[in-house]
Amino acid sequence: MNFVEVSELTKYYPGKTFSKDRILALDKVSFTVGEGEIFGLLGPNGAGKTTLVKILLGIVHPTTGTAGLLGKNLSDVKVKSSVGYLPENHKYPQYLSAGQLLEFYGKLSGMNNTEVKKRSDELLKLVDMEKWKTTKIRKYSKGMMQRVGLAQALINDPKLIFLDEPTDGVDPIGRKHIRDVLIELRNQGKTIFLNSHMLSEIEMICDRVVILNKGSLIKEGNVKDIITTSDLFIFNTSEISDTTMNILLSKYKCMISDRKSFTCKTESLDELNMLIDFLRSEKILIENISKERNTLEKMFINLIEHQN
């Protein structure tokens, strides 16, 4: 069963008052998210990421298209008892403490007193906020707010969790802590839908990503496939002579960085081995050969720049 199913989803927002123009936020977006996946939704500002998440949670209505969660239609509100959500700019009532906040949202999720109390204690411990349980939220820092927000999203022990910029405003140690919590959740078999600008984090955590730009889906795939599709090899060697350098440039189309390092593109494994044989025949000592890593950030920037 697909935990998230999006089919031909389109959303127009009304334009300025008295204007017939509409603003296209999503354009026929379709994809699925399977059980147990950590799924990343990427895109520049205004790409339609938040609109998409809000449609999936019933906060925004789609113009056309369909979507479903946990195999059920979005109109079935009961499905949300197995869903958790941390919005980007969450504003919790300042007069509540972390304990009261979790109690409030836990009960709205249909939990009883005993369940809420037990789960609150577990979660506050998980996000390292147990000491602050009775302190009012207005006294919390941004990082603490994010951690309490994460606890709020997990209060009903959801199968599917939507997190919109979960590490926004959090210091590096706090970010690492949140990342560890997400990995722990993945180990528990939870499905996580992550919307973040932190591409390095997405790369570290996510199994699969979708990239949106100007409301359209422009790339979808496994993170591992996306970041290792490069066929460029980086060589670190002993010093190369001018003659060898010329051959590398002309025959093997290599890019020379300096006399001890260069990058070559090979079409096949045979071609790579021929190159190695050539270097060895020239008495060049090979210290290291590595496949150039195509980072998610590099790929993302290339895609967006190409589109724009």
């Binding site: 927002y13 809000k54 949670l57 019933g58 906060i59 925004v60 209505h61 509100v77 009961k78 499905v79 949300k80 008892s81 869903v83 959500y85 919005p87 980007e88 700019n89 969450h90 504003k91 919790y92 009532p93 300042q94 007069y95 509540l96 009261q100 409030f104 949202y105 009960k107 709205l108 999720s109 249909g110 009883n112 709020q152 939507f162």
Partner: protein
């Protein structure tokens, strides 16, 4: 029921945090001090002695009239205005970006959110009225020795008057997301608009000359269309005085008005993107 209870607790917590309960308790304490002053005041003692001397029935009538005066038009107006100001911020604060998102992501339908807030707001006002009017009644009864129970019905009637106006507060709060605009619209609706319409229709019913023509039709149309808090105040007065109620039309029309306003709120809230 669990969700409704959670909304009620949430509204009460918000009311306590926003010092709303403190305002109610301050008002209550102020009233209590006034009444205690009255109890110990020699002039009041003399007035009571005079009424007691004129016979038990007249004495009882005087006490009932005094109690009815406590919840007549002006005190009723002041109390309701206080409650309008108190509750008008609940919906706009719920609709704040970042807060409404989380609420809508929970397994609760949008109509339940509207009704939950409506009932929670009414209960908040009901308990405040129990406190304020209950203590006033207790002190007056202890002082005069006349235990006039129908006065307590006014708690329910004033809650009903509040519910009538609260349904419009909810609608305009959803529409404008602003508690200031909501307060202004509701205060204008409550006074002077509905008061003038009430006075105009009462005047005609008592044999006064109507404006005639389209203006008369328009005023009467508005009278029947808009809430009738002042007619309900008259009914409350009659019930407290244990006298016959001329017409319950205002009650039926108010129930209809509340239903329509809540239906509009639900339809609007259901369609809205947040």
């Amino acid at each position: 029921m669990n969700i409704l209870r959670t909304f009620i607790i949430g509204i009460f917590r918000e009311a306590i945090a926003k010092k709303i309960m403190l305002t109610v308790f301050s008002l209550f304490t102020f009233l209590l001090i006034l009444i205690i002053f009255a109890i110990t005041n020699e002039v009041v003692d003399n007035v009571i002695t005079v009424f007691e001397a004129s016979g038990q029935a007249a004495y009882r009538d005087a006490v009932v009239a005094f109690e009815a005066g406590l919840i007549s038009n002006v005190p009723m107006f002041l109390l309701i205005v206080m409650f309008i100001i108190i509750v008008s911020s609940f919906i706009p604060s719920m609709l704040r970006e970042g807060q409404i998102d989380i609420l809508l992501s929970k397994p609760i339908s949008r109509p339940k959110i509207v009704f939950g807030h409506f009932i929670a707001g009414i209960l908040l006002v009901f308990f405040s009225l129990v406190l304020i009017l209950g203590i006033i009644w207790l002190v007056v009864s202890l002082k005069t020795g006349i235990w006039h129970f129908p006065f307590l019905y006014s708690i329910f009637w004033m809650t009903f008057i509040f519910a009538l106006l609260y349904s419009t507060i909810i609608f305009f709060a959803f529409l404008t997301k602003s508690n200031i605009i909501t307060i202004i619209i509701n205060l204008f609706l409550f006074f002077p608009l509905t008061y003038m319409l009430y006075k105009y229709v009462s005047w005609i019913n008592q044999g006064g000359v109507s404006y005639g023509g389209i203006l008369n039709i328009l005023l009467k149309f508005l009278y029947y269309l808009l809430p009738k808090p002042w007619d309900l105040s008259d009914i409350t007065d009659s019930i407290v005085r244990v006298s016959a109620v001329n017409s319950y039309m205002a009650v039926y029309m108010s129930i209809l008005f509340i239903s329509v306003m809540l239906a509009f709120s639900v339809v609007y809230f259901n369609k809205k993107d947040y």
